[in-house]
Symmetry: C2
Subunit: 445 residues, 2 copies
C-alpha cells in the first residue's frame, strides 16, 4: 500500500499512535510526496499530529499551491510555531504566502529574533539571491584561531544543517575569507584563521536574479555561496539544494512558455483554475486561426480559380513554424544558460541564418519536385517553392530576433517559442504564400 493510502486510512481511523509511528519511520521527502496525494482536510489533520520539526519540514517541502491552502487552514498560532522551526529562507517564503494583516498577526507571535530575521529577508524581491538566501551561517572574526572556529561550529551545530564552511569577517562584518571544514579538520587548533583561510572565491549581492545565481553555482561548482551587500558586508548564504530547485523551476518555466500555459497547470490545482490558466493561449490561437480564415477569404478569387493553391497552405505554414521554433529555441536556450554571450551573438545569428537557408533550400527543392511530379504543374511548384524559401528566411530572422528583442525590453525571451509568436508567424506565412501566388496569378492556370 502506498504511503499516502496508509496515512489516509490511519487518519480516518483516528489511529494517532500508529500514525506517529509510521511517520517516524519515513524520510521527510517521502512524507512530502505522500502529503501531495492527500486531500486538504487530511493534510491539515496530519500536520497537526506531527511534531513541529517534522511538520515544518513537510510544509516547506510541499508545492506552493498546497502551502497556500494550508496557510489558510492553520491558525496564526500554528503558523507561527511552524515558522519558528524553519530555516530563515523557508520561514520568509512561508510568511510571504500570507495577507499583510495575517503577516502582522503571525509576526506578533514570533520570537523577536525570528521576526527580525524574517523581516530582513522579506525586503528582497522574489526570485533573487536575497530571496534564496538564509541568514543561518557560521561567521567569525578574522583575529580568531581555529579552536574558536571549532567552538563556534559546536554552538551552531543544532541550528545549521548544511554547514560546509565558516565565513571570516572583519570588525565591520565585511567578508574577508572562507574556511572550509576540510581545512579546519587539518589545521592545528592554535593556528590563526588568517593562516588557513582563503579569500572568498566568488560572492553575489542580494539583488542578483536567481537564474544568474544558478549559473554562478554551475560555473564555479559550488555547494554554498556567500551573499554580501554593496559594502561587502556578509548578509546571508545560499546553499546548493535551493539552487537545484531553482534550476528545476526555471526549466519548468521555460517549458510552460513553450507549451502556451501558465505555471498553474503544473501545480495540483482544480480543473477550473487550470482551465483559466490555459484558456488565454487557446483564445490567442483561435484569433490567429480566424485571422487566417479572413486572409483566405480575401484571396477567394484566386482560390476558387485554382483550388489546388489551398492544398499547399499546410505545407508552407508547417515549414515556417518548424524553422522558427528551431531558431528561437537555440537563442532562448543560449540566453538562459548564458552560453549566448554578447561576443558571439552576431556569429550565432549568422550561423542560424545559414543553417535555415540551407535547409529551406533543400526542403523547397524537394517540394518543387513533389508538386511537379504529383500535379504536373511547374508554375504551382515554383510558387510553392519560392514561398517556402521566403517563409524560411522570415521565420529564421524573426526566430532569432524576437527572443533578443524581448530580452531587451525585459520580457522573458522564452515567450518567443510560445503560441504568440507561432500564431503570428502562421498568419505571416499564409500572407506570404498567397501574396506570391497572387503576384504570379497569370502564370497559374
Amino acid at each position: 500500500m502506498a504511503l499516502h493510502e496508509q496515512l489516509r486510512e490511519l487518519l480516518a481511523a483516528g489511529a494517532v499512535e500508529d500514525l506517529r509511528r509510521v511517520v517516524a519511520e519515513r524520510h521527510e521527502s517521502e512524507l512530502a510526496e505522500a502529503f501531495a496525494e492527500l486531500d486538504q482536510d487530511e493534510r491539515g489533520a496530519l500536520l497537526r499530529l506531527l511534531d513541529t520539526e517534522t511538520a515544518a519540514d513537510v510544509f516547506s517541502g510541499a508545492e506552493e499551491a498546497i502551502q497556500e491552502e494550508l496557510a489558510d487552514a492553520l491558525t496564526d498560532a500554528e503558523l507561527a510555531e511552524l515558522v519558528e522551526e524553519m530555516d530563515s529562507d523557508e520561514a520568509a517564503d512561508t510568511v510571504r504566502l500570507l495577507e499583510p494583516e495575517e503577516q502582522d498577526r503571525v509576526f506578533d507571535l514570533l520570537e523577536d529574533e525570528t521576526e527580525s530575521e524574517v523581516r530582513r529577508l522579506l525586503v528582497h524581491e522574489e526570485d533573487t539571491a536575497g530571496d534564496l538566501m538564509m541568514v543561518e551561517l557560521a561567521a567569525i572574526h578574522e583575529d580568531a584561531i581555529i579552536a574558536e572556529a571549532i567552538e563556534l561550529i559546536r554552538e551552531k551545530a543544532d541550528e545549521i544543517e548544511e554547514l560546509y564552511n565558516v565565513y571570516v569577517i572583519d570588525s565591520a562584518r565585511r567578508l574577508v575569507g572562507t574556511l572550509s571544514l576540510r581545512d579546519m579538520v587539518l589545521a592545528r587548533p592554535g593556528m590563526p584563521l588568517r593562516a588557513v583561510m582563503e579569500p572568498p572565491e566568488v560572492t553575489v549581492t542580494p539583488e542578483m536574479d536567481q537564474e544568474e545565481v544558478a549559473r554562478v553555482f554551475r560555473r564555479y561548482d559550488l555547494v554554498s555561496l556567500p551573499v554580501v551587500d554593496a559594502a561587502g558586508v556578509l548578509v546571508g548564504r545560499i546553499t546548493v539544494d535551493d539552487v537545484m530547485d531553482v534550476m528545476e523551476e526555471e526549466a519548468r518555466e521555460d517549458i510552460s512558455r513553450f507549451a502556451g500555459m501558465g505555471e498553474e497547470s503544473f501545480q495540483p490545482r482544480g480543473v477550473l483554475r487550470i482551465s483559466r490558466d490555459r484558456l488565454p493561449w487557446l483564445v490567442l490561437g483561435l484569433f490567429g486561426g480566424l485571422l487566417s480564415a479572413r486572409i483566405l477569404q480575401g484571396f477567394q478569387g484566386s482560390l476558387s480559380r485554382m483550388l489546388s493553391l489551398a492544398f499547399f497552405v499546410p505545407v508552407v505554414t508547417a515549414l515556417g513554424g518548424n524553422i522558427g521554433i528551431q531558431s528561437s529555441t537555440i537563442v532562448v536556450r543560449g540566453l538562459a544558460t548564458g552560453e549566448f554571450r554578447s561576443g558571439s551573438v552576431r556569429r550565432r545569428i549568422l550561423r542560424e541564418l545559414a543553417v535555415s537557408l540551407l535547409n529551406g533550400f533543400v526542403i523547397g527543392l524537394v517540394t518543387f519536385g513533389a508538386v511537379w511530379l504529383w500535379l504536373g504543374d511547374l508554375a504551382l511548384g515554383s510558387v510553392v517553392a519560392v514561398s517556402m524559401l521566403t517563409v524560411v528566411l522570415w521565420a529564421s530572422i524573426t526566430g532569432t530576433a524576437v527572443p533578443l528583442l524581448l530580452r531587451r525590453f525585459g520580457v522573458d525571451p522564452a515567450y518567443a517559442t510560445g503560441p504568440f509568436v507561432t500564431t503570428t508567424n502562421d498568419i505571416v506565412d499564409l500572407s506570404i504564400y498567397l501574396g506570391i501566388a497572387f503576384h504570379f496569378r497569370d502564370l497559374l492556370t
Copy 2:
C-alpha cells in the same frame, strides 16, 4: 577587451610569458568560456602552453564537440598527460571520446593505477550513476578512531577536491556509515568512528539512470552520494556539481525534442553538421504537409462547392495542436520530474481530459458565434464547432496517452511534444474536420 580576444592576440604574437600571466589571473571557468570562442588551432596552441593542471581543467570544462576536436589534435602522450591529471570521472569521459585503438595507446602511457581506475569506470553505460561517479573518495574501516580519519583526510587532501564526508566501510568494503566533516570537527580525536558515524541515508547502484540520480539529489538535498554495487560494496561517489550538469543536460534534451532537433544544434558545430541535425524533422513536417495536401485534394468536390470550408482549416488544426501540446507537456514534465507517480496517473489523466473538454467547449462556442456572425452560416458554424470539440477530445487523449506509451516502450516521452506527434495530429485534425463536413454536406449550402 574580452578574454578570448586578448588570448587570441597574445597567441598570434607568440607572447608566451604574457599568456601564462593572463591565464594565471583567471578562474578556470572563465578560461573554459574564452576557450569556446577560439578556433581549433588557437585552442590546441593555448592548451600546450598551459600547465598540465590548468589544461586538464580547461579540457574537462569544454563542450563535448570541442573536446572531440582537441582529442584529434593532441598526441597520445599529451592526452595521457591530461588524463593523468583529471579526476577519475573526467578521465573516463575523456578516454571515452577516443577510438578503441587510440584508447589502447593512451592506456599504455598511463600509470597502472590510473589505467585500472579508468577501465573500471568505462564499464558503466553512459548517462548512468556509474558514468557520473568518481572513484576518488575517503573510506575508512569501521574499527578506526577519529584521529585516523583525520589522518586519512590529510593524506587525501591533495587528491580529492570536493570532500564533504568520509565513508565508513567494513572488512569487505561494504558501506556501513558516513561521517560528515562537521561531526569530525566536533568529535574528540580518540572517539571510535562507530560512536559518531551515521548510517548511510541513501545510496544508489551504478546502473541507475542519471535523471533518477538527479531526482535523488533533489529529494534528499544532497551534496554527494555514495555508489554501491549489488553486494553493498562502495565503488564510488557522485558530487552535486556533476548533478547540476545533468539537470542542465536533461532540460536541454527535453527542449531539443520539443523543438524538433537533435542535440548537435546546441553544440558549437559547423553549419553543415547542424543542418543535417535538423533536416530530418523538417522533412517529417514536409511529408505531413504533403499528406495534408493530398487529403484536401480528396475533398476537392466539397471544397469547390463550398470554398469557405477551406477557410477554417487553420482554426481547427491550431486548436488541436495547442491542446495537444498543453496536455502532453504536463505528462512529459510530470514523468521527467517524478511528480507523476503511478498512484496519481489516472487522476491526472481524468483532470487533463476535464480541462481540455471544458476549454474546447468554450472555444467551440466562441467559434460557432464568430462564424455565424461573420458569414451568417449556421450550418458551417455548427460543423466547425463540432469538429473542434472532436479534435480537442482526440488531442487531449493522445496528448496524455502518447507520452505514457512511449515510456512503456522505452522511448523518451519528450518526443511526444515534438514534431512527429504534432504533424500526425495535424493530419488527423484535418481528416476529422473534412470528414464531419462531408458527412453533413447536405446541410451545407
